[in-house]
Symmetry: C2
Subunit: 155 residues, 2 copies
DNA sequence: TCTTATTTAGGAATTTATCTTAATGAAAGC
DNA sequence: GCTTTCATTAAGATAAATTCCTAAATAAGA
């Protein structure tokens, strides 16, 4: 519930174009799923998207929502908020540190920086509530996954 | 598999003390669960902790692991890596932005900063692989939850 | 020693997410 | 517009992660 409608329609058109170029059909369902995610800043999960899209397409199936969200994230039309894990992961390192997480295998590694200018808590974040912690989240593909992908490409 | 053993034993003693002060018993199982998490930087999930602790306490039940991890995270002895959500959440905002996430209700909100000096990717992170994205992850308690907690305190 | 928190077994239940099959339907290229 | 091919649907099965149940046994800490 933000972003001006014009901008949304623009993005949707671009999305449909990109779908076609990628050999994926810009179906009504797929488009509405995309719309549901970009029309909000609430970072909805699959169930929330399902509820939203159902208002426009009552016949849509939950399966279709899952299938398309996964596809859209893979194609880079959407991002996954946080780290893309399947289970809660615990961190016993209580010192100030940052995370690198692999978007393929879910590997998470700690790192520390000098934080030259202090890496202070942004005022913008304080507006949402009481800040407890702050760290950098770096996402990417780890060396091991990179290697596997290269091996696959050769085939 | 890092952290020097001496430091770990020290933390475990402090943990046991803190447990008692908090009115929780420093049981053998609880202690070993704590040890399993702080003895590694692999950010294990409950299943991984279970496998690890089982080597020292073969009779331990998975339920106990879940119960204690939850408790330890609540008491602040451990952190949860990433945002503490229960389902995958999607983000249609493809522009550079940051996240505030509430550790109580899971709310996630976007914010942007001026990023004066660019908030450049730390070299330390590059060592792990190919970096795709970078953002700040601010965790805290959102205003709504803060309000609820205060209301509860009054009772 | 005594009280109380905790663990255990063994099982059931929930939630999230994915997959199966077969029939229908709709998109995009031609 | 026709046709090919991809996508959706129903209906249900499945898998994995997580939580909860009860009752009995046990260990921690005062």
């Amino acid at each position: 519930m933000k972003a001006d409608p014009t901008h949304i329609e623009e993005r949707i058109r671009a999305f449909q174009e990109a779908c076609r170029r990628a050999g994926a059909k810009a179906t009504h369902q797929r488009t509405e799923i995309f719309r549901a995610v970009i029309a909000t800043d609430s970072h909805p999960d699959a169930q929330a998207v399902y509820r939203q899209v159902k208002e426009r397409i009552p016949s849509i199936s939950l399966d279709t929502v899952y299938r398309n969200l996964k596809l859209l994230a893979e194609k880079g039309f959407l991002q996954i908020a946080g780290t893309s894990h399947d289970s809660l992961r615990f961190d016993g390192n209580m010192a100030h540190h940052h995370h690198f997480s692999c978007t393929r295998c879910g590997m998470i590694r700690d790192f520390v920086t000098d934080d030259p200018q202090g890496l202070k808590i942004p005022e913008e974040a304080c507006a949402f509530g009481e800040v407890q912690s702050l760290h950098l989240e770096v996402k990417g593909i780890c060396a091991a996954c990179r290697k596997k992908l290269k091996a696959k490409d050769k085939k």
